[in-house]
């Protein structure tokens, strides 16, 4: 009997190709519909939902906003965000620790993107897995709350490096927890040099206006690009 030696054949395929293709598709649809898409990533409990509730409430009079929220289980976040009056949809992922492009695509099926100016996607609270999955967003925002400690960026460099903007939340608690703001900023800049970072408190409203201006300026830029 003739035996053949194993041989190596070149394949070259991105393992997440399917996700990347779907994300590219989504990004094209978002651009065509003129909707700016911002995703939020952070560890659990760092204040994504509180910040989002504030943003939806304050942005709603000025533009058409909506949100998708990812969680392993429960519809609590969606119910909380719906109080803002904006369109909100919960994506429950079951045991999956992140959102992927297919989940976003399915969640958007009943929505008309043309009727939106801005869409937020709140990822599952997790600083590891979401970093690998492109969701078609324009902007990935990473949150860090003052109660988590200044060294979070050093512990999770990948997610901070793949984000576009940083937001330090619960700044009203900074003094109580002896938050070292300078160290936090240095750590963020160490893993993602040049990243713009906002400091906000959804509770007191500190820094919110500046942060919202930044989000809204993105819409204006988009409108300029589309019409100009």
């Amino acid at each position: 009997m003739m035996s053949t030696q194993p041989r190596l054949v070149e394949v070259r395929q991105n393992v997440l190709k399917q996700n990347d293709l779907l994300a590219r598709d989504l990004r094209r649809r978002f651009h065509q519909a003129g909707v700016r898409v911002v995703s939020l990533v952070s560890s659990p409990g760092s204040g994504k939902t509180a910040l989002l509730e504030t943003a939806l409430t304050l942005l709603r009079p000025h533009c058409r906003v909506a949100a998708l929220v990812g969680d392993l289980a429960t519809e609590n976040d969606a119910a909380r965000l719906a109080r803002s009056g904006a369109a909100v949809k919960q994506v429950t992922t079951g045991t999956i620790c992140h959102l992927d492009a297919q989940m976003v695509k399915s969640a958007l099926e009943e929505w008309n993107l043309e009727e939106l100016d801005m869409l937020f996607i709140e990822n599952v609270g997790n600083l590891v897995c979401p970093s690998s999955y492109d969701l078609g967003e324009d902007l990935r925002m990473v949150l860090l709350s003052v109660t988590e400690g200044e060294d979070k960026p050093l512990k999770y460099p990948t997610i901070f490096n793949t984000a576009d903007v940083g937001v330090i939340t619960k700044i009203d608690l900074a003094e109580a927890v002896e938050f070292d703001s300078q160290a936090a900023h240095d750590n963020i800049q160490g893993v993602r040099p040049g990243m713009q970072v906002f400091e906000v408190s959804a509770k007191t409203g500190e820094g919110i206006e500046e942060w919202l201006q930044f989000l809204k300026s993105g819409i204006t830029e988009r409108v300029k690009v589309l019409t100009g």
């Binding site: 053949t4 030696q5 194993p6 041989r7 190596l8 054949v9 070149e10 394949v11 070259r12 395929q13 991105n14 393992v15 997440l16 399917q18 999956i96 620790c97 992140h98 590891v128 897995c129 970093s131 690998s132 050093l154 460099p157 990948t158 997610i159 490096n161 793949t162 750590n187 800049q189 160490g190 893993v191 993602r192 040099p193 040049g194 990243m195």
Partner: protein, 114 residues
């Protein structure tokens, strides 16, 4: 822990490729894994073994080539490997840089077949 779903995608991909080549047996998958891919090597190796069970790839192995993060420096134009993921700076002049040239790979590069 998203390594399991990544292992399953790889196995599916390899099984399809084996099918295309006339049902050959796959002995190993060779993968390039960037340090900045968000995927942990050990977790992936463990998941791979579990995910292979009961598939065409049962008994096959996963060969991982880790790819260090390489950054481009706009100040001195050097491409250098990062000494630490905690500090994105040029290995030549020390300037901070966020331009990643390599290190995000999650790519099946070859299959060992018979």
């Amino acid at each position: 822990m998203h390594e399991l779903s990544i292992a399953m995608s790889m196995i599916e991909m390899a099984a399809e490729e084996a099918e295309r080549r006339g049902g050959v047996q796959v002995h190993a998958i060779h993968l390039k894994l960037g340090q900045l891919s968000g995927v942990v090597k050990d977790a992936l190796l463990f998941s791979y073994e579990v995910a292979c069970e009961g598939t065409l790839l049962e008994g096959s192995s996963l060969v991982i080539e880790e790819v260090p993060v390489v950054v481009y420096c706009q100040t001195c134009h050097a491409e250098t490997a990062l000494a630490s993921l905690q500090r994105f700076c040029c290995g030549s002049c020390g300037a901070l840089t966020s331009e990643v040239v390599r290190g995000k790979e999650l790519e099946v590069v070859a299959l060992e077949i018979q």
